[in-house]
Amino acid sequence: MRDLDVAGPAERRALGQLRVGPRWALASAAVVALVVALALFSGLANGSAVRATFPPGASGGVPFGGRGGPPGAVFPGGAPASFIDLNVVAGVLHMTTAELQVELASGAPLAEIISQHGATVDQVVSALVDQARSQLDVQVAAGQLSPAQEQQLLASSRRRLQAAIESNRVGP
């Protein structure tokens, strides 16, 4: 039996086969450049796809993608967690995001926390919608969204946020 701790010399030599051919690297770079160009200048990324997929009910606050985020920041009904930006909520409640997260983790529903801190659900929802509006304005200015679509999204967002918070569907 060969020593288990040492591979054979041929196997060691074969490691040298792990290398990149320059032609393949160039071809890969060309493919990536093409994909990026297509994404930037076609409808894949900034055309109808985005307009069609901006989620109804989103209040914004997510610079890129979505995130599971802290316990309490999710609509169990399905909307991604990041649509309630806890930083905005914490700002309305005059507390830090970390403090808010601690309270959510302790088991209190968001509506109860809002009430305990002397605020109303309306105030929180308005702040979240305002934040969403500032982000959507950018998209409207860029021609990616029409003003009517923006209003529609904001109205839908307000309804869903209100319902989610009032029905205590946001909690730890």
Binding site: L15, Q17, G65
Partner: protein
């Protein structure tokens, strides 16, 4: 001239006499690397945390010590728990340990945060040690030390473990142990290690077909046709035992949480828990700078539901799944053609990198296993050093940007601005380039001339087994 052979013999004897000392020196250096790595993590550990994730861990820790395990997945949290029991057991362990140390069990305390960060920190060191073993096995102790150091002091894993406080290195460690066992000729015993990794990160289950093919091509069909012999019978017995051990491990970890396999009468099946985990995120990318960072977010678009149609009437999600299936199939074909160490290393890297790059709903941190393997390949093959560096860099930028944006904390890696779309696009495009290049490496591996491949040594650690390389030579004829 007559003194030549005698001189060589003497030199060889002298070398042999020094070998134990050399081995000890390498072990000492490894301990220095690991010790310094631990010190770095302890020092940085107090400089931040991703609050949202830490709060999730704290909430789960509270639940683990206050409710029966069988109720852990039950009602009581508005956001369903999206982890499988694998790392929950580790959390259970440190939560109980902390309660012993601090009877008030205040999981919000800094002391518990230290424990939370110690877990991935120690897993990092474990990865460093296993990288040393693999690289020593394949290329000698010096390269082993290089591999360990490249990972232990790599800023990206340090950031994820010590500052962010996430546990991605735990599953990566068990995946790496499985790879080590495969390379040592104990592919069967890789199965329990991989099972545990899958119970933490279920997507690593895509490595199971790779394991099956390596086992088959090394021990059952090293030539063009299946072979039967006493060695095969021994291998089959060992595989049966390892499969039973894996199943036992699976049930031992899952049943206390009320999770089982159908048709067991448990409260949940593992498929239901996977469904919960999988449906937590529905965006094309959960902040991973991957293919969808290029295709979907190039213009700075925000959330995109992956159920939406992308191209040709097919949704983003299904495009991602199809591309991933294709990538895994290519990796398996390459390993089928040559199940030797370089190909197995390449295929493991390819599958883990594809798992980050191609499917939708992927988090930024999920690049960790690919970074571990890229570092290993970088240490072993000088022609691949750039890959380890590049992937580590894009990973660091990805986790730093997300940490900054969502955690609202910076830690001086130069990411002081809000993430701009060019950053996302540049890093995602770089990762896409790296993925394509890695595929090029594999295709070149599979197309090596027969005579080169034919010269490879027998399957590692199993001198009795037929030569895998010879088998490849035969298969390629």
């Amino acid at each position: 001239m007559g003194t030549g052979p005698t001189g060589s013999r003497r030199a060889a004897e002298r070398l042999r006499a020094h070998l134990p000392g050399l081995a000890e020196a390498h072990t000492a250096w490894l301990l220095v690397i690991l010790g310094a790595g631990l010190a770095v993590r302890l020092l940085l550990g107090s400089h931040g945390v991703f609050q949202a994730d830490a709060q999730t861990f704290r909430g789960w820790a509270t639940r683990l010590v206050t409710t029966p395990l069988s109720d852990f997945y039950g009602n009581g949290t508005a956001r369903p728990v999206d982890h499988l029991p694998g790392d929950l057991w580790i959390l259970w362990g440190i939560a109980h340990l902390y309660r012993l140390i601090s009877p008030d069990a205040n999981f919000q305390s800094p002391g518990f945060l230290v424990l939370l960060k110690l877990v991935p920190g120690l897993a990092d060191l474990g990865i460093g040690a296993v990288l040393y073993l693999i690289a020593r096995h394949l290329a000698g102790p010096g390269v082993g030390l290089l591999a360990a150091a490249l990972f232990v002091f790599n800023p990206a894993p340090v950031f994820v473990s010590a500052i962010w406080g996430q546990w991605d290195s735990v599953s990566a460690l068990f995946m790496l142990v499985a790879l080590w066992l495969v390379l040592r000729g104990s592919a069967e015993w890789a199965l329990p290690a991989l099972t545990y990794a899958v119970l933490i990160k279920p997507q690593l289950a895509l490595l199971l077909p790779l394991l099956a093919i390596v086992w088959w091509r090394r021990y059952v069909q090293p030539g063009r046709r299946p072979e039967r012999g006493p060695d095969l019978a021994r291998r089959v017995r060992r595989l049966a035992l390892a499969t039973l051990a894996s199943l036992g491990l699976f049930l031992a970890l899952d049943l206390p949480f009320g999770v089982g396999l159908p048709p067991l009468p448990t409260r949940w099946t593992i498929l239901e828990r996977l469904d919960v985990a999988w449906n937590q995120e529905r965006s094309v990318s959960a902040n991973a700078f991957n293919l969808w960072g290029v295709l979907a977010h190039a213009s700075g678009s925000r959330f995109i539901d992956d159920g939406r149609v992308f191209l040709l009437g097919v949704s983003y999600q299904h495009w991602g799944e199809a591309l991933l299936a294709l990538a895994v199939a290519i990796a398996l074909v390459v390993v089928w053609r040559r199940p030797d160490a370089p190909a197995v290393l390449w295929a493991t890297l390819t599958i883990t990198l594809s798992l980050f790059m191609l499917p939708t709903r992927i988090h930024e941190r999920y690049l960790m296993p690919a970074v571990v393997l890229a570092v290993l390949v970088a240490a072993l093959a000088p022609g691949m050093r750039w890959l380890g560096v590049a992937l580590s860099l894009t990973y660091l930028v990805n986790v730093s940007v997300v940490y900054h944006v969502f955690g609202r904390q910076t830690f001086g890696f130069g990411v002081s601005a809000r993430p701009s779309d060019p950053v996302v696009l540049a890093m995602a495009a770089t990762n896409l380039f790296l993925l394509l290049v890695v595929f090029g490496v594999g295709i070149a591996l599979a197309r090596r001339p027969v005579e080169e491949v034919d010269a490879l040594a027998p399957a590692v650690g199993d001198a009795d087994a037929p030569s895998a390389a010879t088998a490849v030579g035969e298969a390629a004829v």
